[in-house]
């Protein structure tokens, strides 16, 4: 009977216009939103850069400005302030200059105050402040050190930067280049995607159970099929729908990717000069190579996590008739997921902290936490296996519990279930 429920529910979901439309349009929407966000950031930075900005400098010592002018700033034009500070401030307000930099005489003296003032019209972007701070600081150091007549080698040494190359050592004695930053970001993306899948499709299970309860289909259904079979068939059908949708999306992205790759190798594309730019961009941190152990973990954990969440969501759907009534229960169900989002951000910093390790065992957080942890640190095999064992055991347990709630609650109408009702439903036979 699970089979009949599965086929019926699956076709009912997949054959709707809504399903076809979301499957076709969601990638376009996602790409659109991402492209839009990137474009907004890019253009706002560009417009800020391209605008010629003049900063008047009131240099009381007379020693700093020459150094600043000699250095030159890439996005600001500096000029000597010719009027009093108050007049210059008025000029800023009137928009005749973009800013006023006041450098007190002490700034050039060793051991004196290190305060300087930057006046901008109203509140400006933080970038101007940041860019000017380090720029002026360099000049201040140089001027203050002038009287010690340091040899250029010393000066060079002082200003030398540091390239810290992080190398991860594995137990096999291999050295892997690269910092934890890239895996941490990738890990976060993986966690969010896993969560989204569990969340979205789990909620659909709740919605379909609720629909059958509120539309009074439930009694007809359970007079033909065991409630457990109904719940399982439903969970599997929505899972099948999820798999269909995700496969369609991957296929679409794959096709787009192939075309993009073909296009980028054409001579016309090279002529556009973008290819060269792309080549220059080689300085970007390279993506870590695909980790098959993580891919396998994700592929196994996503269905498990979905099963866990869908059972709980299914039970909630059977308890309540409308989403409004179910709100409190849904919030409780979502707590572990919110917890996951919080935890996932600490994985990069402390992949072996007790908080994170427990998170990769706890069944509701493990599906997202385990792969993320695996990306950042070497998780011992026993931990991976233990995590899977806990998830499988909890999924089986929860499906059983959800089946009982489903059976007991599906035909109870007219009042919001109390905790006592839920307990009765669980204990009834």
């Amino acid at each position: 009977m699970i089979g009949v429920v599965f086929v019926g529910e699956y076709l009912r979901r997949v054959k709707t216009k809504a399903f076809v439309l979301t499957t076709l349009l969601a990638p376009i929407a996602i790409i659109g939103v991402m492209a839009g966000a990137v474009a907004i950031i890019f253009f706002s930075i560009e417009s800020e850069r391209e605008r010629e900005r003049t900063i008047a400098v009131h240099d009381e010592s007379g020693r700093l400005l020459p150094v600043l002018l000699e250095e030159g700033h890439e996005s600001f034009t500096l000029e000597q302030a010719r009027r009093s500070v108050d007049e210059e401030k008025q000029a800023v307000i009137d928009g005749r200059v973009d800013g006023l930099l006041v450098l007190p005489a002490e700034l050039a003296e060793v051991g004196a105050s290190q305060e300087a003032w930057l006046y901008l019209k109203e509140k400006q972007s933080i970038t101007a402040e940041q860019e000017l701070r380090s720029f002026v600081r360099r000049a201040m150091r140089e001027v203050r050190l002038e009287r010690y007549d340091l040899p250029p080698e010393v000066q060079q040494t002082m200003y030398a930067g540091l390239d810290l190359n992080a190398v991860a050592l594995t137990e096999e004695g291999e050295e892997e280049a690269g910092s934890a930053a890239v895996p941490a970001v990738v890990g976060m993306i993986v966690a969010v995607v896993v969560l989204m899948i569990m969340w979205t499709y789990g909620a659909i299970v709740m919605q379909t159970a609720m629909e059958e309860k509120s539309s009074r289909m439930a009694e007809i259904l359970v007079s033909s099929v065991r409630p457990f079979d109904l719940l399982m068939g439903k969970i599997l059908a929505v899972g099948g729908m999820a798999a269909t949708q995700l496969a369609a999306w991957m296929l679409m992205f794959g096709i787009v990717g192939i075309f993009a790759a073909l296009f980028m190798t054409t001579p016309q594309f090279a002529e556009l000069g973008i290819g060269a730019a792309a080549g220059e961009a080689g300085g970007l941190p390279s993506l870590p190579s695909i980790r098959f152990d993580v891919v396998v973990t994700v592929l196994l954990m996503v269905p498990l996590g979905y099963l866990l969440n869908a059972s709980v969501f299914g039970a909630v759907g059977a308890l309540y008739e409308t989403p409004q009534e179910a709100q409190v229960a849904v919030t409780i169900v979502m707590l572990p997921m919110i917890l996951t989002i919080v935890m996932v951000q600490t994985v990069g910093m402390a992949p072996n902290s007790p908080f994170v390790v427990i998170g990769s065992f706890f069944p509701f957080t493990a599906p997202a936490m385990l792969p993320t942890r695996m990306l950042i640190t070497d998780v011992p095999l026993w931990q991976v296996l233990a995590s899977f064992a806990i998830c499988i055991a909890s999924a089986l347990g929860l499906v059983w519990v959800a089946g009982r709630v489903f059976r007991g609650a599906l035909l109870t109408y007219g009042k919001k279930p109390s905790l006592r009702d839920i307990r009765n439903v669980l204990l009834a036979d």
Binding site: G8, E219, I220, L221, S223, V225
Partner: protein, 307 residues
């Protein structure tokens, strides 16, 4: 034959069904009557194997109900619905398949029954495009599509217009003639009286009266008088005060009475002749099902408070 044998069902704190026994025969229609919360739905759910009795047994053709018997039962519950956005043909097919039909049989059955119920053009529609009466026909078809051995109809006529009621009644009689066991649960006494061969009266989880409808009525005696007359009806109140009759129903120029304390029909007729300007009808009948029902429920309440 469907047998409900000494069945008891308890929910958390309430005793929903208390050692109830009843039987329904093939080719007969059993009317299940009872006030709200009497335990009708509880019994029907156990017959459908949706819930299990705490004690006792339900058997269909000698087989204890379970997964195997579910496929032989057609159920139109009182709380019934349809998937709002799914084509009627698709949902009928799906639900018939849950009753064990193959996809082809299910589709054929759906078409055949909707044709019989004058609704073949509903097949490609979605319930939200159908009126309530039309949806009800679809739900009726749902109970019939797998040719059940036992057909259970809970308030099947509620909200249906007379034409469709008549059509549905005709189909129910056909099912009876074909040897199906039919259970008909309702509050509508006239319909039960009209359709049923046997009745079973439930209140507070217990079966108060059950048996052949005509026999049950005979058991209550021929002391019910139906009157139609012209003139003032005040004399009836006087007779009632004197304890000679009980007035069950009264309107201008019509009344339904029961004779009490040895007061005879002849005496009543004399009284009417004296008081009324004209007599259109005088008939002594068996009590109506409604009267039997009310009296049985009252008696049950009285005996319980006495105990």
């Amino acid at each position: 034959m469907l047998e409900v044998d000494q069945v008891t069902k308890r929910y958390a704190t309430t005793l929903a069904v208390d050692a109830a026994s009843l039987a329904a025969q093939p080719g007969r229609i059993l009317g299940l009557l009872g006030p709200n919360g009497a335990g009708k739905t509880s019994i029907l759910r156990m017959v459908n194997n949706i819930t299990k009795p705490d004690s006792g047994e339900v058997r269909l053709d000698g087989q204890v109900v379970g997964r195997a018997t579910q496929a032989k039962v057609g159920y139109m519950p009182e709380d019934r619905g349809l998937y709002k956005n799914v084509k009627v043909a698709d949902q009928l097919t799906y639900l018939a398949r849950l009753k064990g039909l193959s996809a082809t049989e299910a589709r054929r059955g759906a078409r055949r029954w909707l044709t019989r119920l004058d609704g073949v053009d509903f097949l490609q529609k979605r319930p939200r495009e159908l009126s309530r009466g039309m949806q009800q026909k679809v739900q009726f078809a749902l109970a019939l599509v797998h040719a059940p051995r036992l057909l259970i109809l809970d308030e099947p006529f509620s909200g249906l217009d007379p034409i469709n009621s008549a059509l549905m009644e005709e189909v129910i009689r056909e099912q009876k003639a074909a040897g199906t066991i039919v259970i008909f649960a309702s509050h509508r006494m006239e319909q039960v009286e009209d359709l049923c061969d046997e009745i079973c009266l439930i209140a507070e989880g217990r079966i108060l009266i059950s048996g052949d409808l005509a026999e049950v009525k005979r058991g209550f005696g021929r002391d019910t008088v139906s009157l139609e007359f012209a003139g003032e009806g005040a004399f009836l109140a006087r007779l009632a005060t004197a304890g000679q009759v009980a007035v069950d129903k009264q309107s201008a120029g019509a009344a339904e009475l029961r004779l009490l304390n040895g007061y005879t029909g002849a005496q009543l007729l004399d009284e009417v002749r004296r008081e009324a300007d004209e007599i259109y009808r005088y008939s002594a009948t068996y009590p109506s099902l409604r009267e039997i029902f009310l009296q049985a429920v009252r008696d049950a309440g009285r005996s319980r408070s006495a105990a």
